[in-house]
């Protein structure tokens, strides 16, 4: 977990004896997301992309990204063969890369002119590699494919798992017990004189045996079998002609298919398009997720959009035409139990000093230490978590000091006036601050909630734990962003907070 090497990439192969694998791996990547195909779909023009990728692309452009032939999402067909190839390659990859790297190591250690053959591979290598087990896309990011990784369980993978769900091991060798096998092939063995009477009953016996045996067998493979059989197969959603739909019928349509139907029409269009792509891609997939998961995914995406706009205003202004609808209202309120909504709401009212530092030019190449941080973010994004920029040293040093010195007295003063008044109409958190005595962080969580990526569940929200120790020690009375702002609870009514800013 400590270098960019952990993210699988075709370039991993480049400095190994298996150079050609780089091209093989690139060929197994979707050209849009540049990752392994996930549920590959083939277009009418015979190009293949991930289901999600091509659906998103078609809904934006209506053309094949490779050859720009006009195409429709409804004409996509699944490319199962490719999917199998990708899955097989992905499961074989860790072992292969392990071997390839070991090869390089040994070659360099022994400084032998690189003529070692792959056959030298001993059993240890293989076992270790396979111990890493099945590799999902997200897992493979985390799993270091290096030899340092620990072997939890040595699990030898079946080469064609999935194809043989109902496979029952057959005993091929003939036991030497002087018995005869049933000529009808039921597998029973008996004495010669029993064969003839058995023949009459054989069929019946087979039937009844199956009945007994079957349930047990299904149970053995339960996890796989059930994935598709939960309920009727899902139907794909049709795209809507948005220009023909008025707002009200559209709202209804959205609610009909189970997604929130509020917000402006633009917002609904965006939400619907995302949802249709998400849903239909899921219909293509062999391992469909539950609707709940999909809804969460949708929410994450929309929030992410809104968040990006907030955190990077420079970006938006520079490309005015490709910023469709990213008001904060893009957040559907469906999982209200999740706190993640609120931080973003709060964003609107909280001018962040962050943007200034974002665009500060600093040659990335000179900061290799930043890599793990990026990778973590990508992982987190991968896992669907809400994340926000981590405050780094640069940020801290640039934090406008005057802000702090000015706000603390201000907060104290207004707090003193309001002292026992709870709730304060302006949504000021000052009484809460005061009651804390030292402006300590625990109570300020609502105020600075939007800055915190580490505790979506509302744990310790006050201080970003990335701060160096000396910055969140007691010596500093107040976290630097504790500028009183409207609290989360007021954000929905839209009132309150304005005065404090």
């Amino acid at each position: 977990m400590n270098s960019a090497q952990d993210v699988p990439d075709s370039t991993d192969w480049l400095h190994t004896p298996l150079k050609e694998f780089a091209q093989l791996e690139t060929a197994l990547h979707c050209q849009i997301c540049k990752e392994f195909y996930d549920t590959p779909m083939i277009t009418s023009c015979s190009h293949t992309f991930c289901s999600r990728c091509i659906r998103t692309s078609l809904s934006a452009d209506g053309r094949c990204p490779a050859c720009r032939t006009a195409d429709q999402a409804s004409k996509l067909r699944k490319n199962s063969a490719l999917q199998e190839v990708v899955a097989t390659f992905m499961s074989a990859r860790p072992a292969a890369i392990c071997v390839a790297r070991r090869e390089v190591e040994q070659a360099t250690q022994k400084a032998r002119p690189g003529k070692r053959k792959r056959a030298v591979l001993d059993l240890d290598d293989l076992e270790q590699a396979q111990g890493e087990g099945r590799t999902t896309r997200s897992k493979s990011r985390r799993t270091a494919a290096s030899e340092t990784s620990t072997v939890d369980a040595i699990e030898v993978e079946d080469s064609d798992e999935g194809a043989d769900e109902t496979y029952e091991p057959e005993i091929e060798r003939v036991p030497d017990d002087g018995l005869l096998e049933c000529p009808l092939g039921c597998g029973k063995r008996m004495k010669i004189e029993q064969v003839e009477p058995h023949l009459d009953r054989c069929e019946d016996e087979k039937q009844s045996e199956k009945r007994e045996k079957h349930p047990a067998q299904v149970n053995g493979y339960l996890p796989k079998v059930t994935s598709r059989q939960n309920g009727p197969p899902r139907e794909r959603l049709a795209e809507l002609n948005y220009s023909l739909l008025k707002e009200l019928p559209m709202r209804k349509k959205l609610e009909e298919i189970g997604i929130p139907g509020w917000g402006s029409k633009q917002l609904m269009i965006k939400r619907h398009t995302e949802w249709v792509n998400l849903w239909n891609a899921d219909c293509d997939s062999d391992h469909p997720r539950s609707k709940r998961e999909l809804l969460q995914d949708l929410e994450t995406r929309l929030i992410a959009d809104a968040r990006r706009k907030k955190s990077n205003p420079a970006m938006v202004s520079s490309s005015p035409k490709d910023q469709p609808i990213e008001e904060t209202a893009a957040l559907p309120p469906m999982n209200s139990h999740e706190d993640s909504n609120h931080p973003v709401d709060d964003d609107t009212s909280n001018p962040t000093p962050q943007s200034a530092t974002d665009t500060q030019p600093a040659p990335y190449a000179e900061r290799p230490e930043a890599l793990p941080s990026i990778r973590e973010k990508v992982e987190a994004a991968n896992a669907g978590k809400q994340i926000e920029p981590v405050m780094n040293q640069g940020f801290i040093s640039q934090q406008p000091q005057p802000d702090i010195t000015i706000t603390i007295p201000a907060a104290a003063a207004s707090g003193a006036l309001n002292d026992q008044e709870v709730p304060v109409p302006q949504g000021s958190e000052n009484p809460a601050l005061l009651s804390q005595g030292h402006f300590g962080h625990p109570k300020q969580d609502k105020v600075v909630g939007n800055r915190d990526e580490h505790s979506p569940s509302g744990g310790r929200r006050g201080t970003p734990c990335e701060l160096p120790a000396h910055l969140h020690g007691d010596s500093r009375k107040m976290p630097m962003f504790a500028v009183p702002s409207r609290p989360v609870s007021d954000s929905e009514t839209g009132g309150g907070g304005g005065a404090v800013q």
């Binding site: 370039t11 692309s57 490779a66 959009d305 990508v378």
Partner: protein
């Protein structure tokens, strides 16, 4: 964080660091924001730009890779296809839908299958071979067309100055 865009940007970054094309380096300016990159392009050999190092900034839209990034040279670059403010005008950076200049083939424009690497390579070849059909810098284009020696001299002088010689 937009997971689709940032995942893809990270993937591209990884690829560019481990296997960079000749004369090109690129990466995010700040680890907090994968959507702003800085790139360095070496002046192509055999052109007046040879020896120069041209830093540029790439900004990615949040719906990348559906939409192309914008690219701006950080120093001034005297070139028919670079606006005086440094913005690069090249067809691969134009979204498939819009064709403000009405001369570009759809096949040359941005598509999600393009990448940062391809953009930078295209820009590098654009530096070597200006396209004077769509001058972004009219003066530079005219000079390039009509007074080539003067154009080259000016470019060389710029390069030397940028290197502090």
């Amino acid at each position: 964080m937009n997971s689709v865009a940032s995942k893809r940007l990270f993937q591209e970054y990884k690829h560019l660091t481990t296997d960079p094309p000749d004369g090109i380096t690129a990466g995010p300016v700040n680890e907090d924001d994968l959507f702003v990159w800085e790139a360095m392009i070496l002046g192509p050999e055999g052109t007046p730009y040879e020896g120069g190092v041209f830093p540029a900034e790439l900004k990615f839209p949040k719906d990348y890779p559906l939409m192309p990034p914008t690219m701006r040279f950080l120093g001034s670059v005297w070139h028919p296809n670079v606006y005086p403010n440094g913005v690069v005008c090249i067809s691969i950076l134009h979204a498939p839908g819009d064709d403000p200049n009405h001369y570009e083939q759809a096949s040359e424009r941005w598509s999600p299958i393009q990448s940062v690497e391809k953009i930078l390579i295209s820009v590098m070849s654009m530096i070597a071979e200006p396209n004077d059909e769509s001058p972004a810098n009219v003066d530079a284009a005219r000079m390039w067309r009509e007074r080539r020696p003067e154009f080259e001299k000016r470019v060389r002088a710029d390069v030397r100055r940028s290197l502090g010689l």
